[in-house]
Symmetry: D2
Subunit: 362 residues, 4 copies
Amino acid sequence: MGSQIGKILSVTTFGESHGQGVGVVIEGVPAGLRLDASKIQSFLDRRRPGQSPITSPRNELDRFEYLSGIEDNVTLGSPLTIYVRNHDQKPSEYSDLNQVYRPSHADFTTLQKFGVKAKSGGGRASARETIGRVAAGAIAEQILAHYLPEARIVAWVHSVATITCNVTDIEKIERYAVESSMIRTADPNAEKDMLQVINSAMQDHDSVGGIIRCVISGIPPGLGEPVFDKLEAELAKAMLSLPATKGFEIGSGFLGTTLSGSQHNDIFINKGQKIGTLSNNSGGIQGGISNGECIDFKVAFKPVATIAKSQPSLTVDGIPVVLEPKTGRHDPCVLPRAVPMVEAMAAIIIADHYMRNMFSKI
Amino acid sequence: MGSQIGKILSVTTFGESHGQGVGVVIEGVPAGLRLDASKIQSFLDRRRPGQSPITSPRNELDRFEYLSGIEDNVTLGSPLTIYVRNHDQKPSEYSDLNQVYRPSHADFTTLQKFGVKAKSGGGRASARETIGRVAAGAIAEQILAHYLPEARIVAWVHSVATITCNVTDIEKIERYAVESSMIRTADPNAEKDMLQVINSAMQDHDSVGGIIRCVISGIPPGLGEPVFDKLEAELAKAMLSLPATKGFEIGSGFLGTTLSGSQHNDIFINKGQKIGTLSNNSGGIQGGISNGECIDFKVAFKPVATIAKSQPSLTVDGIPVVLEPKTGRHDPCVLPRAVPMVEAMAAIIIADHYMRNMFSKI
Amino acid sequence: MGSQIGKILSVTTFGESHGQGVGVVIEGVPAGLRLDASKIQSFLDRRRPGQSPITSPRNELDRFEYLSGIEDNVTLGSPLTIYVRNHDQKPSEYSDLNQVYRPSHADFTTLQKFGVKAKSGGGRASARETIGRVAAGAIAEQILAHYLPEARIVAWVHSVATITCNVTDIEKIERYAVESSMIRTADPNAEKDMLQVINSAMQDHDSVGGIIRCVISGIPPGLGEPVFDKLEAELAKAMLSLPATKGFEIGSGFLGTTLSGSQHNDIFINKGQKIGTLSNNSGGIQGGISNGECIDFKVAFKPVATIAKSQPSLTVDGIPVVLEPKTGRHDPCVLPRAVPMVEAMAAIIIADHYMRNMFSKI
Amino acid sequence: MGSQIGKILSVTTFGESHGQGVGVVIEGVPAGLRLDASKIQSFLDRRRPGQSPITSPRNELDRFEYLSGIEDNVTLGSPLTIYVRNHDQKPSEYSDLNQVYRPSHADFTTLQKFGVKAKSGGGRASARETIGRVAAGAIAEQILAHYLPEARIVAWVHSVATITCNVTDIEKIERYAVESSMIRTADPNAEKDMLQVINSAMQDHDSVGGIIRCVISGIPPGLGEPVFDKLEAELAKAMLSLPATKGFEIGSGFLGTTLSGSQHNDIFINKGQKIGTLSNNSGGIQGGISNGECIDFKVAFKPVATIAKSQPSLTVDGIPVVLEPKTGRHDPCVLPRAVPMVEAMAAIIIADHYMRNMFSKI
């Protein structure tokens, strides 16, 4: 249990970082949808390592193949399976890591839970597992494009360490603009400082964290459920299920706790033919249900645990040792690659709730 | 869909704020467990309004009855149903509210989603719905007490508006100490300032928000799943499904994004017979799985939307009006009553994952 | 687990035969549906004991109340809860039964599984649990009536012991006609013989079994899923989950295994504007999906285990004893009361699959 | 939805008969289990066509590969994926079939439901889909072998057309004995007649149906749930989800409906150290829960729809045509190959309920 998300659009990922490959089975894709494979590949390309000087050099092309559910690019209504073979797995490179717990990795907890020392170390809790999510997100986005052509999901790097980008008109930020930034941020001024922070971390053999902001526009009122499956709760789970995440906030978030109710309340106003709100402290969701304003949330990513410094640790037998860094696979900042992951998870949740909402009333 | 949470310990709440009553069906409670009804009532009492001068005067005793699943206080292994009748519902009091959308309530979104103008306004997305959660949490805690007698779940008000409590030794804070504070905070110094802020908001006919911190100790390594059902993801969903929440963070949280990896990594050390970590930036969870350190998270609650001030709004037909405050039901600060809600949701998630973990290995 | 059925229309029953009461929570009822309470009560009345000289005299009026999900008879889109209090439970009457396993009851297996000797003996596996199913079925039928006004679900007693009814034009048999028969059969000739068999069993302090046939007409092609959730598989599970059932067959059933393929194949023909089949050995379902012909299945019910004869048995400690019959609660033939149970389960499955089918294609 | 079965041991099949391949993702396999790949291959070999003169000549080796979840033959606790590439798919051979509905196939209903004319015709409702089930069953059996080494699941062909095998001591029948029969029956006398019936059907370009019986021994009391997930209900669904099935009965089944209660009741007796029953009309399950006696059920399979005779039919546009037989892929009797399918589905259900039962009591 626990490798599946979504109730109508049900996404199950499989595969280990250092096994044969990784993939995803998606149930609930309606039949008759023409999928654009290049959009799936493009999502995978944005996620993969080795895209730029500041990302991990693991050399994977991450070409996907369909195993099922589609014929001549048209979905059949059956489970759609996407698979990406691993080519660059080097279990031997990891063999001694297996004997020493890497700090703030999943090695220790995975061994405690499953009792198996696998080559893959932290097992499923890895960046590579997100390939399946990203492919599923690219498909979810195409489902949404059919039902809600106005919908737009755009994420960007909001901060790196203490450097925060300063943007207005968040609904107007477009994905191609974010893509034109090496860091996938939305503020060219901040970008320079962010790059400096990242390069400095790289030179220090260290890593930095940051925050991703995601804005979803063009969503009608009514998506989400009023109790446990509140739309923000579902988004929070989806985001906190991404590796290295430590926090989620929507609309006014943590800062909003310092406001008074009269400052915080979003006043209803007429916006042309529809009812909207003057402010958007609610982040587009009220009582768990979308209100038609843009959905606006942030996700905190810790600094990557893999660093190129010596660190004290323990062997699996509890013997203190110094863990020496490997040259090689090391991203000083995971944020740019996490942008498509955030978008993908958001697309899965929104598409699932769009379909769930078909039944809400007679 | 959406009124159910938990995979093995499955909790479904039902009932509307202004209907006949509210309740919960819990599947997955093992047979043969002797339940202490007074502990369930005590959880409900901590949640209910009218406990102190600073909470809403809605006058409900919230006495629960078992409808099923138990005989002579011993569970039968069948669905356990708990029911609390509504006595103080005053739908007439709400009748004109039905015509005007209350700012930052669920009225608008509920009507958009379900198309029905119910007496209960925001319907299920209400504080009263949490009665079922709190009762289920009190039972989950008794299940946990059987399997993990060391486990302790303690939450408290970490901040009100900008007043933050200052605590050390978070594992040592006990529930009775929190209960001795009218605000359910853990720092007597901060309490006085918090009370002043709340009273001031009450005099201004306004409301304030704040943050609840929750610490779970005595949890062995191995709870949680490595992919979508990461323990922090499940907790995030559970917390964001509570009314009025806007954010969740675990361990180092949002602030941790400003640290470097070498500062943030939790170094493994021997702690007596077991392996622990020197710091706890991970918040007790690594790779989605508990590591044996205490689980430590925070939840942001917005200032309550119901205030005793005039506010502009719209009728359901889009006509601008001024919404005049009702005397009566109004909590200037929901935080103290939210403490048992946070504990209850945490207990449900932890108990569910304890049982899920029974299968993780041969 | 195991008290829930249905994926979109999700039905959870609760309650023990000799506890406070029994009920059902139904998630997935669309908002805005006006429910006719008298139709629900009528279904419950058809199920309850004491309707006629040949049924158990347990004296329960089985008046239901709504606990949630409805206001002014219009559904709210939230969980709809229906509750029936037990009035005639006589646990004392059962107290010594608790010490002796009743043959072919659930006493032994329930104690083995749950380890609790409850007053309710066989616990949840009881006829009284079906109250929740029947109420849910009555609601499912009203959902169907909205979406598929042509749909008709009619069940009747097909055989009692070796007496089998002989009917033609099964699609034309109507529920009121079945109701006019004390045995709820569809063949007045057979009825007389059936009554004689039942009366004879009653005089012998014994019981008889039989078969119920159910025909569902007016269902469009496309309901059901091609793999595990084949419509016939879902119906089979629903029927075999009713107490006292031993078999399920659809269309040609077991007898069809003696035909050749060329005899058994249903030839496609034009029927007015739509495509139908000449014969209906498929029973209205091909490849797990409805084909527009009427769905036609049979369910085998064993002779009731409770008889008014002395029987050898064992105490819970394995001591051989003779179990003396109780006067009192004893149905010589459960078939007539099982007719609405079969219809109710069929309605739940069909309504669930109707809603599931909304997503099958773009 | 609908490609998944099992709650703890969750099995999802994917793939089309004439697509890239077929496979299965199994969640819930405990970590640390050493799997014997040859047992999986052996199950697949028993299922595959071309085993003997009486089965379809489709030429597939059906060699499986693991895509995930296992390292050095030891399970990792993550989703276990098994994949079998299609080699012999000949979509062109099927191209004109696509224009004509084959009688009693899934072509018509699949097109009605999904609106897509796929090469694979009946799509997922095919014999080839069962590869994933059979692989999952072979794994479920190995899980069971770990927890319940006494457990045995043995199925055989009980009848072909009107030829029925006559066996006693059903618990003693072993799989290797069944395997030694070309028809996989358990009565050498009946086998000769069955073979004659099948050969005769083959010469007539026709097909025959029959019944498979399955006996599960060595199961302790307590497996199954008392309400919707009764063990017999779960088995019924699993069996009716296999292609070409029309009926399911357990224990006394349909014939049992002609007995009286006093004949039918299974009297409890001491059997050595444990309590058993004198007869086994219950088929090993009472009140939905296993009672320790052997579980004994039958499954009806219709005569295969694909025959080598001309048949009238309609094109997708409703034009009457004669469908001419293809030489080639045609099994006159699917029963022998269905034996491992029945065993596999039984193993999945029993293993799932074994794990579910871990929580039933404290």
